[in-house]
């Protein structure tokens, strides 16, 4: 089982090396999007550009978490679709374990790659705009817990891909839900009460709230550990993760029963 996770991590790293230009381009694209964000929230006064560093920092953290959530939610499904398309999935499925382990391996590898991309971007913007965002190490467990839920959602979509092959814009709709209704770029208190309450159900809202508290407000980790948002985050992430796993396992079995595991 560990071997499968190692193999899938190895595959991700080979792809990373092979398509390095694509990876660098995506980081550059992200830098441009951030620049747009920063200057769109800047104000002019006496001919000078004034940037509210706190707002920018909040948006930067929110947008970074969201940007990499895109990968967590969509990558497994699209990677599976690519395997189906090139016709390698059946050969990969010829292992003594369920395909779920391949998915978990890929998630681990993607998370490591994504994490370092995020760190690089934050360092670049810290240097350019003197934002003074320092990331305490205790953010890491919260980040892992947040992405656990997001990868759970990714597994759910990957399972659907095994049956329906192409999911159309459903993952894109989910991505925009995460961008708009989790407080990533729009503060949640701008929305009506019912939406604020419903936003807790999304797999990124509470994690993002805690990460901002830890990074920007330097709140004590032990204070966070026994707080209501932490409780919601744990329940939410575990639920999404378990739903993702069970859906994937069920649909993988169904695809094998229908004989459509390898068909595209």
């Amino acid at each position: 089982m560990m071997g499968i996770i190692m193999a899938e991590s190895y595959r991700e790293f080979v792809y990373f090396k092979r398509y390095i230009f694509e990876r660098i381009s995506s980081v550059i694209m992200l830098v441009f999007i951030f620049l747009g964000f920063i200057y769109s929230s800047a104000t002019f006064s006496n001919g000078e550009v004034i940037i509210d560093k706190l707002t920018v920092s909040q948006k930067l953290i929110g947008f970074t978490i969201w940007f990499f959530a895109l990968d967590a939610v969509g990558h497994l499904g699209s990677a599976l679709r690519e395997d189906l398309h090139i016709g390698i999935l059946e050969q990969i499925a010829l292992t003594p374990y369920s395909l779920i382990y391949n998915m978990l391996g890929r998630s681990v590898a993607r998370f490591i790659i994504t994490f370092w991309n995020g760190v690089i971007i934050l360092i670049i913007f810290n240097l350019i705009f003197e934002l003074n965002i320092s990331i305490p190490l205790n953010v890491l467990p919260i980040l892992i817990l947040t992405y656990l839920g997001l990868y759970g959602l990714g597994l759910f979509f990957a399972g659907l891909t095994l049956i329906f092959k192409r999911l159309g814009p459903i993952t894109t709709i989910t991505r925009f839900l995460l961008l708009i209704f989790t407080g990533a770029i729009i503060p949640l208190n701008y929305f009506p009460e019912i939406i604020q309450q419903a936003s807790v159900l999304l797999p990124m809202t509470e994690g993002l709230k805690i990460i901002r508290e830890l990074i920007l407000n330097k709140v004590d980790f032990y204070h966070i550990l026994f707080s209501a948002p932490m409780f919601y985050l744990m329940i939410n992430s575990m639920l999404y993760f378990l739903i993702g796993i069970f859906t994937f396992l069920y649909l993988e079995k169904r695809a094998r029963r229908l004989g459509t595991l390898g068909s595209y």
Binding site: G3, I4, M6, A7, E8, Y10, R11, V14, Y15, R18, I86, G87, I88, E90, Q91, I92, A93, L94, T95, P96, Y97, S98, N102, K253, R256, R257, L258, G259, L261, G262
Partner: protein, 291 residues
């Protein structure tokens, strides 16, 4: 003990509301160190059978036993004893180099990395691919890709090797090398090799046993020699003297028609008689079994 036993396998698929019998009461037994050929027209159920043995398609009924243990329901650790090349699939990553493929599949199948690399390098050398191990697979010929796929499929030293159309798209030389490899894997390594092919001459040359499938059913399962002697008429090539001319005629005689055949040729001036056994192609195609 038999290496592989298929017990009363049934599989139906629905296609546009129509029920298709892909496998119908399929029972077979396979031994080690033997090569088995599965033939049959398109839609006979060959690929479904191979995929059911690999756990890629679940049967509706029946079971697969590998070295005495049942594969269903979901005893997938047994798949570590199966290696397969699937027709229509890529089997290996074309964007990887052969050695990257070895590393990926070795990790995937839980094989010690060093052992896998050593074994693969040895096989790459054997097949003249040692200078290609760091070239992307997409730049290699079809024959090389197929050889690499076979090397990869045997990394974990499976006891059963399933090869769905292993010579498809290969030039004659590569096809011959592949056939040599298949025999070596069976007779030297003791594997049970099961292959499907539409090239009956390849089956005839390489297999000990033949399975003929049609409409999801097994119509015959026997040694190639038995099938030939059971089904075939012998072809007699008779050299005759006709006046000053010498003629050769070919006559197919059924097994029970030899007496009347002798009476007929007694009236002729026969110089020589040779016999030739019918090929599988004559048995299965000319008799219309494929249609």
């Amino acid at each position: 003990m038999k290496t592989l036993v298929l017990q009363r396998l049934h599989k139906n698929f629905k296609n546009s509301g129509k029920l298709i019998n892909a496998l119908s009461d399929v029972s077979l037994e396979f031994d080690s160190s033997k090569v088995y050929g599965i033939i049959g027209p398109n839609g006979a159920g060959k690929t479904t059978l191979i995929k059911t043995v690999c756990g890629l398609i679940y049967p509706d009924e029946g079971n697969v036993f590998i070295n005495g243990e049942s594969l269903y329901p979901e005893n997938f650790r047994l798949l570590s004893q199966i290696g397969a090349i699937l027709e229509g699939s890529r089997n290996i990553f074309w964007n990887f180099t052969p050695i990257q493929n070895v590393k990926y599949f070795a990790m995937l199948k839980g094989v010690n990395l060093k052992t896998a690399i050593d074994r693969a390098v040895q096989l790459f050398r054997l097949f003249g691919l040692e200078d290609k191990i760091n070239s992307p697979v997409r730049n290699l010929s079809q024959g090389m890709k197929q050889k690499i796929a076979i090397i990869i499929s045997t990394l974990h030293n499976p006891t059963v090797l399933l090869l769905d159309e292993p010579t498809l798209g290969l030039d004659p030389v590569s096809s011959q090398n592949m056939q040599k490899l298949i025999k070596e894997l069976s007779y030297n390594d003791g594997k049970t090799v099961i292959l499907t092919s539409h090239h009956l001459d390849i089956i005839e040359k390489n297999c000990d046993y033949l399975v003929f499938m049609k409409g999801g059913k097994i119509l015959s399962f026997d040694t190639i020699d038995n099938i030939k002697s059971r089904f075939s008429e012998k072809t007699y090539i008779i050299t005759l003297k006709d006046g000053n001319d010498i003629k050769k005629i070919e006559k197919k005689i059924p097994k029970d028609g030899f007496g009347s055949f002798m009476q007929t040729i007694n009236t002729l001036k026969v110089i020589d008689i040779e016999t030739r056994e019918a090929t599988l192609e004559e048995i299965f195609i000319e008799r219309g079994s494929y249609s």
